[in-house]
Symmetry: C2
Subunit: 86 residues, 2 copies
């Protein structure tokens, strides 16, 4: 694996994992989550858990870490959604 | 790469890509996207574009396809957000 590809992959992982932060902050501060799809959250959480499993099977620490952090942030969003949705 | 790991990775890719469908459907049918963070959408779209680049560099068709489809779905959500948000 080239160094350039590794840098691109790490930047990609930081973006797709970090993207959950502004969404979580918005839901936390506004207390509004009605427009967020609960189906999306469950399918995404299942997919992230599968990515963590894949990372363990492949012994790939970047895949494990990026997806475990995403899963924690999405779990927070599920919790907020359960608390706030009507 | 073991066959089992490949199956887990493909299932993970299908879930994290497919999770965008119910969100897009919800935003389309309700016309409501206020609770979705625009910062999240932009950072996620940038991350997905980087994943596609990474897939091209690594010559990995699964990474290219999964993230290109996700990027198309997220672009649809950005378009709906721009149309509907106040």
């Amino acid at each position: 694996m080239s160094t350039f590809a590794t840098v691109v992959g790490l930047a990609a992982a930081v973006c797709t994992t970090g993207a959950n932060l502004p969404q979580l902050k918005k839901a936390w501060t506004t207390g509004q989550t009605d427009d967020i799809s609960m189906h999306m959250l469950w399918v995404l959480a299942s997919g992230l858990a599968l990515w963590v499993t894949y990372g363990v099977l492949q012994n790939d620490i970047v895949i494990i870490l990026a997806n475990a952090i995403s899963l924690a942030l999405i779990s927070g969003l599920v919790w907020l959604k359960l608390q706030t949705s009507s």
